[in-house]
């Protein structure tokens, strides 16, 4: 019973691991069950132009940040003549280009990033709310009254912080209808203007906010500008509000470049600097996108997986990963159905050969080779040879048959016969030997049953292996092998009847 318990624990663990990882990859990393599903990828290019003054040059650009919804990977950062380095100060990430020698005249630096949509659920900051930002300048008497009135109005019909914020911005955007807003907009400000006023008002009504600059990733755009947004914290998460329309925008389409008062571009040793942005969208397969963004997030599930292999090895494994499915079919057919096969895993190897020859041609070739081989082998029986010389002789026969089929095929104008070489000859030799022994010991009927059982199994495995869905599933989710293992373990302990036994013991079932 102890082993039984162990087995159950193992099966449950394997199932949980297999399905859990798969689910994680779908839900969090953005893998897709349908291999053809496409994802949009944005390539955003920033071009920095400036005039160098003739001395050493240092350019630093605030870099776009990962957000809950978007993963950013650097695609192109090196510019000839400059060394690139990345530095992080607090929450601020900057890329710095330092010239290798003195520069003069117009300079151009490219910085390109690819952006993938992430599939993690929006980060929910639980617990403490972020601190309220400090007021950029205090409201003086008249303005204080106006601010209070405006906030009062904004709060009136609002149910939550989000609505209060959008109402407030709507009011600020419509000074003709709202006197308080009109007054406040006239308030002389030291810096920041409109956005900083909105932020101060939000602070006054106890709503944490921040000003973010970034790109809205919507469509292809040659010339894009960084736009400013107000983000407000509604108690659970940050909401992105477009200050022009007072609409709450989808944060998944917003590439955050700059937050609060970080500077965008700093050029030392140059003047007339400016930065331009352009974006293009491309479609790539969802699973490819997930793998790339996974690499970027250095998710160990991706890093230590099949995807870290060179592409050619990945293709090999794509096939290898299918072999366990073949084993599962064999296990099911033998232990649940009760089909006899010549050699336990011989059908898998035959199925692999079928992959090269295609099913019908493969079946014909196999039957021909084994049939002729059996005839030739039966002659050997009279010679009473020892085992190893006997098998070796069969191997010679098999090669001869291969050659004969190929030559005859080509002479008759068909190259289909050449496919015969895909069959594993050692395995075929052993199969012929076993079937022949079976023929002598148990009779031709048994040999035929085993032979056709093997072919049936091989055909089923072949059909499974050429199935695109299965192939893509196991390639995208190799962890499903654990589920497969669990299934095999389960069948390994199955002590019920086989399908064939319902026939075999049929007379026993009669009353």
């Amino acid at each position: 019973m102890k082993t039984k318990l162990q087995l159950i624990i193992m099966i449950v663990t394997l199932l949980a691991l297999g399905f859990g990882t798969t689910l994680y990859k779908v839900k969090v990393l953005g893998f897709s069950f349908s291999p053809d599903k496409e994802e949009t990828v944005w390539t955003v290019e920033s071009t920095i132009d400036f005039e160098a003054d003739g001395g050493p040059v240092k350019v630093s650009l605030n870099m776009p940040d990962n957000s809950a919804g978007l993963a950013v990977t650097e695609a192109h950062k090196e510019t000839s003549g400059y060394t690139f380095s990345r530095n992080v100060k607090g929450k601020e990430r900057r890329g710095t280009w330092i010239s290798k020698e003195d520069k003069n005249g117009p300079q151009r630096i490219y910085y390109r990033v690819n952006i993938y949509r992430r599939h993690s659920s929006p980060t929910v900051t639980s617990g403490s709310a972020p601190a309220l930002p400090e007021l950029s300048q205090p409201f003086t008497e008249a303005y204080l009254a106006a601010a209070d009135t405006l906030l009062e109005e904004s709060r009136e019909s609002a149910e939550d912080a989000a609505q209060t914020s959008t109402n407030l911005i709507n009011n600020l955007n419509d000074p003709e209808k709202n006197e308080a807003a009109a007054l406040l907009l006239k308030m002389p400000r030291e810096s920041g203007g409109y956005l900083s006023l909105a932020q101060d008002l939000l602070t006054k009504s106890q709503i944490p906010s921040r000003i973010s600059k970034g790109l809205l990733l919507d469509k292809n755009n040659k010339k894009k500008k960084l736009t400013s947004y107000i983000e407000v914290f509604d108690g659970k998460k940050w909401l992105l509000i477009n200050p022009k329309t007072a609409q709450i925008e989808d944060p998944d389409a917003f590439l955050l470049w700059q937050q609060n008062h970080e500077s965008l571009l700093e050029v030392e040793g140059g003047s007339n600097s400016k930065v331009r942005f352009s974006s293009i969208t491309t479609k790539i397969l969802a699973n490819q996108a997930a793998i790339k963004s996974g690499h970027q997030q250095s998710s160990w599930l991706i890093d230590f997986s099949i995807y870290s292999l060179p592409l050619s090895s990945q293709n090999t494994f794509r096939l290898l990963l299918l072999i366990p499915f073949g084993a599962l079919i064999v296990v099911i057919l033998r232990n649940l159905v009760g089909i006899q096969t010549a050699g336990t895993f011989m059908p898998i190897l035959i199925a692999l050969a079928f992959l090269q020859t295609k099913l019908i041609v493969g079946l014909i070739l196999f039957i021909t080779v084994v049939g002729v081989g059996l005839l030739m082998r039966s002659y050997l029986s009279h010679l009473n040879l020892l085992l190893v010389p006997r098998i070796s002789a069969v191997l010679v026969f098999v090669i001869t048959i291969y050659l004969a089929i190929s030559v005859i095929g080509v002479k008759m104008g068909s190259e289909l016969g050449l496919n015969v070489t895909f069959f594993p000859m050692i395995i075929i030799s052993w199969s012929i030997e076993r079937m022949c022994v079976l023929w002598e010991e148990e009779g031709g009927k048994d040999a035929l049953i085993q032979g056709s059982g093997s072919l049936f199994t091989a055909s089923l495995i072949y059909l499974l292996m050429i199935n695109d869905f299965v192939g893509n599933m196991i390639y995208a989710f190799p962890e499903l092998l654990l589920v497969l293992l669990a299934l095999i373990l389960m069948i390994g302990t199955y002590s019920g009847y086989r399908l064939s036994e319902l026939r075999r013991f049929e007379p026993m079932g009669r009353e």
């Binding site: 048994d446 002590s495 026993m508």
Partner: protein, 315 residues
Amino acid sequence: MLITSPGRLRKRGIVGMNKRNVVYIGQNNKRKFYPRVDDKLITKILAEEAGIAVPRLIGVARYQRHTKQLAEFLAQEKAFVIKPSKGSGGKGILVIVGRDGNDYLKPSGSRVNDQALRRHVSDILSGLFSLGGRPDVAMIEELVNFSDVFEGFSFEGVPDIRIIVYKGYPVMAMTRLSTRESDGKANLHQGAVGVGIDIGSGKALNAVQHGQPVEIHPDTGRNLNELEVPDWPVFLDLGARSYEMSELGYLGADVVLDKFKGPLILELNARPGLAIQVANNHGLESRVARIEEEIRTCQRNPSERVAFSMQHFAS
């Protein structure tokens, strides 16, 4: 009806291949004890030590050089059997029933000269008949003088009695009768007749060919109901005692009846098949369950076990 339902089979206690492999063999037969039954020489030596009746071992040829001494060694033996120790399916068994000058006589009357005999032993040694072609040894044992009580029940040869022994308790027995269709082989799915034998009395219970009930032997015409194994408790006793000897919990014992020596164990099997259920028209499950229940309460010696089985498993 071509197939039946699992429920019906379960109700009748029929054991399937998976259950046999996973439960009966998997839990009761330790792998390390397999050689005790797979190697007939080991079986014979263990049986002789345990005082279990087997055909007497005359000698063993282990090396090629032994083949040269065969003629001298067998000078005093009139009838004997040479068989590979690890042979399968009855391959490589040479039966000699008598002598004619320097030649040996086969049951068919054909002659085998000294050279051919030597060659046969040499073939056995080089593994011609063993599984996987591994080198083997040749056993020479005395010929069984088959009792004629089974005369007419078999198309060719003399039937043996297969007894399934579960943890030392005989649970079920059968005999396999060859037919013309089975080509003289006692192989049920080639068309031999399986006759279930009552554990309580040694009398035939039920006969089947190809899974269908039969009354008479298709070739000899003998009424199969008349089949009765004499000295039945001795047969069961041999089966029961082979448990202590082999330590295999699920065991098939093949017993033959010698005219002079009585029942003898011919060989043991660690993976006995399930056709016996069809021949008996009875499932193994309930009997095995009854034994498991019995084992929990007491331990018994072989003769007590035989008595228990004869009492509880009689039809």
